[in-house]
């Protein structure tokens, strides 16, 4: 008798929950291990200032794989999840970037 709900955004009500295939779980696992190997190997090669960039890039790729596949963000119909993730990263970036804007320009004349 109670009214069913709600003016909330359309959710994945009609489509069944996505079940990851065993293959994709293992494939991502292998990719993550490969990334780890790569980043450790790259650390021992002199790339000058690019060492840090390479390490961070590989870390970000690994993190993205975890978020998209293991945390199911690729298979969700919720755009809100993506917005939450992007917001967190954006504001973290602001904290880091604007703080560094101070430190990197302190000695400028």
């Amino acid at each position: 008798m109670s009214e069913h709900n709600s003016a909330s955004e359309p959710t994945s009500e009609q489509t069944p929950e996505h079940i990851s295939s065993l293959g994709s779980c293992l494939a991502i696992w292998v990719a993550l291990l490969a990334g780890t190997t790569l980043t450790v190997a790259a650390a021992f090669i002199d790339l000058g200032p690019f060492n840090t960039i390479v390490a961070l890039t590989i870390a970000t790729i690994k993190a993205t794989l975890v978020v998209l596949f293991y945390m199911h963000v690729k298979y969700t119909h919720e755009k809100l999840t993506g917005l939450v993730i992007v917001s967190a990263i954006f504001f973290l970036f602001i904290l880091l970037a604007l703080s560094m804007a101070d430190y990197t320009t302190r000695l400028w004349r």
Binding site: E3, A7, L98, A101, Y103, R106
Partner: protein, 549 residues
Amino acid sequence: MATAVVSDSGERETYLNSGYGLKSWLLTVDHKRIALLYLMSITFFFFIGGFFALLIRLELLTPGGGLVQSDTYNKLFTMHGQVMVFFFVIPGVPAVLGNFLIPLMIGAKDLAFPRINLLSWYLYVIGGILMIYTILNGGVDTGWTFYTPLSTEFLKTNVISAALGVFVAGFSSILTGLNFIVTIHRMRAPGMTWNRLPLFVWAHYATSIIQVLGTPVVAITIVLVALERLFHLGVFNPALGGDPLLFQHLFWFYSHPAVYIMILPSMGIVSEIVCCFSRKRIFGYKAMTLAVVGIAVIGFLVWAHHMFVAGISLYAALIFSLLSYFVAVPSAIKVFNWTATMYKGSITYQTPMLYAFGFIGLFTIGGLTGLFLACLGMDVHVHDTYFVIAHFHYIMVGGMVMAYLGGMHFWWPKISGRMYPEGWGKLAALIVFIGFNLTFFPQFILGYMGMPRRYHMYPPEFQILNVLSTAGATILAVGYLLPMIYFTWSMRYGDPAPSNPWNAAGLEWQTHSPPPTFNFDEQPVVTWEAYNYDEMDEIPEIREVPVAN
């Protein structure tokens, strides 16, 4: 037509009579009861913070340090600041009015996570107990801002317990914000689209974003301060290669958006009141919603304007100064839109509207003086003077507290089922307004003339303004005590309130006063726009059922 739930003895079931005894309150998951729990605790801390303020003003009556030693004075302004900021102004409106009203306004039975809501209150209480312990154990004298290395290296006072209290209260804030965001996204009634939401709800949504994303940064900063104090780490200690400014960056990254946590909910209250007592839709609904979100986002980009003279690079200072000018724009838009709402409205001057008027004027002054401070050249002269103190008190007291009181009066009939005495309400509002301006306007002048903040001794030529300020503070105190008295009186002797005493728009007025535990007799379905004061007859009327026969 849905019927109210009535017990066998003829009493209508409300959230107030659906269970008696301490356990039914301390273990409640009803958002309305939790709001009242918060009301008790927040009022308690308001008076503690206010007590410290009165001691400060007493000390400042004379130019020489008369009443207390310098070290004690340091504790007075620190405790005043910490208690007020972290235990009154930041939680105040969201915890009391937000908790009570958001489910009602969106047509839901409760918040998304009622048990987390209760947990939030307990965290607030635990943080508060830590703060009380700090006070009783001799206080803390770092200033509310905990600046390093003073707080980490040189003080023997209760820095860690105070910091821990703030940390725990911070998690209360994060969980409340999280709860509100999920509630507003997921629990809206059928037909309650985003563009039909009351601006009060939008304001809390924007506030919640800040609470969730900003508070953790000050939380980790506090952890670092505690670790540094305990283990002499050196992260903020220049003698060990640390940078005190790093603390300030991390601290202000939260504490500047925190001031928007303080003001945005109050702006939401003002929108509701102005529309009701002008009998008009809000002018520029879309702009108002964009403005609150804009304030929340831009508010994260301006924090180093608190650090202009601390030693940051000039180029960073220029960037932050420019960004600080931007953040004033959405706030100004809101002031213009409230004014435009009132234009050609059918205005009446009940107590809530008086507070709303007070807010608009005083917030404008506070906001404009903020722009003076955002100007680098000016800030060099007035930083760390009473000018800054006057600026933020205009916003926090002239703004937030006024709106909070206005909201308490506006929704009191809904919360308690009683009307407060209108004559006393108007009198108290007038006393608050006069007391407030007498307290804080002289401080603009004092600051401009050079009186530093956090000093209890000052040149004799500043005395007359300080005396005026103290006189104002006393009047203000009376103005705050009056509602305490007549609200309490009204709970027993006030006129029983109908469901919609103000004939206001909004779903919260479509249910009984006080509401039943599950808020509505039947699930509301919304088919009208927000603030439809020109089409009030489209809204179905509720059948009044008095609480007792």
